[in-house]
């Protein structure tokens, strides 16, 4: 595998990701300006609730909201790349600062949930495909159909019911918060509370944090599981019906080798796309889990921003989510290159 070819490939993917990001920013920009057409209307975004006309006019001058659109867009781009997302009128702090406080809390439980979904889903999807129309298949399908059609809050409620109210005495899992409110937050080193606590050897904090993470992870896992496993099953089925799998059989390779070493290995390629999809989907699950379990992460401040009418916050959070997905896509593209020679060698 020529090293230089691969580096070129990575750079091309990177440029692609940046272009997508730019277009995303453009679209969001257009969206906002299509709804808030006048400078005064725009000013309302940055103002708090019940602004006076004088306040609005000050904002228009300060943020150059009366400049021509393309100028505003350039300013906007420069702001975003500098990390300046605006000043939140309600919290009275820079948005970026607020978001960086809550983002790690969401990611710390979301990422394990996604990994769990991918691992379990791939295995179960392959098992279901390999045992098509037999009992294992039906059981797995029934399970993912159920989790797929369930609204995420229903899953959260079920998880609550089962693990806190029925099995509570045995499991001692907490129903709210991300850490016991009695414990102080560890010193900020990385900004990720769990990692900071580990560095500081604050095991009480780590323990409490992990225990609080269980139910939200379970909720997000169950929510994304349905979509992923169904697609994993379908992808594996398609691969198992392809010619080269048949040829592998005809060569005399054992069924196990054909299904796993040839079939699953090839199915991994479209599955990588599914993993990105799962990551994107799990944001939604995370939002709802945070609502039900009173977990103070990105979903939580979104909900708060909605009720306190702070559209700027909602906008910026969404931007962050979008960026995280673009990054996930980029990583997936690289994985593609590793897994599929057709992509990296032309």
């Amino acid at each position: 595998m020529a090293g230089r070819d691969f580096v070129v490939f990575v750079i091309r993917r990177l440029i692609n990701a940046v272009i997508t990001l730019l277009i995303l920013l453009l679209l969001m920009f257009i969206l906002v300006h299509a709804i808030y057409t006048t400078p005064l209307a725009l000013a309302r975004l940055y103002a708090g609730p019940h602004p006076t006309m004088a306040q609005l006019e000050t904002i228009v001058k300060e943020y150059h909201l009366d400049a021509p659109l393309y100028v505003q867009f350039i300013n906007y781009l420069m702001d975003v790349f500098a990390g300046n997302l605006g000043y939140d009128p309600i919290y009275k702090e820079p948005e970026a600062y607020i978001i960086m406080h809550y983002l790690p809390i969401t990611l710390t439980f979301m990422i394990p949930a996604v990994i769990l979904t991918v691992l379990v889903g791939t295995v179960l999807g392959a098992v279901a495909a390999a045992n098509r129309n037999k009992w294992g298949d039906y059981f797995i399908r029934a399970f993912y159909v159920f989790t797929w059609s369930s609204p995420p809050y229903f899953i959260a409620l079920l998880v609550l019911l089962v693990f806190v109210y029925w099995l509570g005495p045995y499991t001692h899992l907490p129903a709210s918060g991300y850490v016991s409110s009695l414990l102080p937050r560890p010193k900020v080193i990385t900004g990720w509370p769990l990692i900071d606590a580990i560095i500081e050897h604050d095991w009480a904090y780590v323990d409490s944090y992990l225990v609080h993470m269980v139910l939200p992870i379970l909720t997000v896992f169950l929510y994304s599981f349905g979509v992923y496993t169904r697609m994993a099953r379908n992808v594996t089925l398609d691969v198992l019906e392809s010619d080269y799998v048949r040829l592998a059989y005809i060569k005399g390779l054992s069924r196990r080798v054909v299904v796993y070493r040839v079939g699953l290995r090839n199915a991994l390629i479209p599955l990588v796309t599914l993993m990105v999809l799962t990551f994107a989907l799990s944001w939604t699950g995370a939002y709802v889990a945070e609502d039900v379990f009173d977990y103070h992460g990105m979903g939580y401040i979104t909900t708060v921003a909605i009720t306190s009418v702070d559209p700027l916050m909602v906008y910026d959070i969404t931007l962050f989510v979008g960026i995280s997905v673009i990054i996930a896509n980029f990583i997936a593209d690289i994985l593609y290159g590793v897994l599929d020679p057709r992509v990296r060698i032309t």
Binding site: L157, W283, T284
Partner: protein, 310 residues
Amino acid sequence: MTEQVVERRGRGFAASIWSWVKLISRDPAGLLGLIIVVAFVLWSIIQGILELLASYLKDPRLGWLLLPYNPFIQNLAGAFQPPSWAHLMGTNYIGQDILSRILYSIPYSAAYPAFLVVLSAILIGAVLGISAGYLGGWWDEVLMRVTDAFLSIPAIILAIVVSVLLKASFIGMIYSFIIVWWPIYARLFRAETLRVKAMDYIAAAQLYGVSPLRLFFRYLFINTIDPIIAYAMLDFGNVILGASILNFIGVGLQPGLPILGEMASDGVSWGFPKYWWWAIFPSITILIIALGFVLLGDRLQDIIGGRAAY
């Protein structure tokens, strides 16, 4: 199953519907899905007609003709009742019967958003996707880039922000869903168009000098729509789930009208699991409706995709 990809003539419409029904019902899951969806659609139509009549005749009682109770009437003495024979699904904090509220809200909580959003998304997606696939060039490139960007944000999260920007009303939520939903259909239509474009009969039609409009409808649209119908069936469920999530978070509500997601949210904030029936029953309703579409859509995808063995 050989594909018959030609200009379709209208077959006996009723006859072909019935043969689809038979095909679907060979799978018990597909049959269950079909039953649920049909019940859901019928109920929404009936209830919708009653509501129309009610507003036309200025008699709101028609709206709850078929319901056990008037969904709006308050009875503070009978608040927080657990499920009983009198109130099959219990009552809420001001004594309203939850079952009636659920039945009353199904049409506009679920049916109208689903159909409005998906059908609009299909139309917009068809026009943009087919033109991109057919014409290619820079138009195609632009569309791909734009849909890429749209798809980087999870649909529901984007819907939240657009709804909030549009002041979070019910209609605003529908608009925001349509904005968020069309890119996927554009992509699907584009992919199908590319596949179909390579077929000879398109070249033949062009040689005949078929007009672009006729080409679009009679050839491209008709022949690309099959897999998209199966996907749309699943998607109805997705929209219903998505709308309920937004409602749960507090977006897209209509003051005064009961909405399924909102009822679940209220149930949770007023006390879960103490008043479990308040949160659970609306959630189960959404679950059943979505389940119907999932089962039906899954079965349709298997049939159309040739994966159905029997």
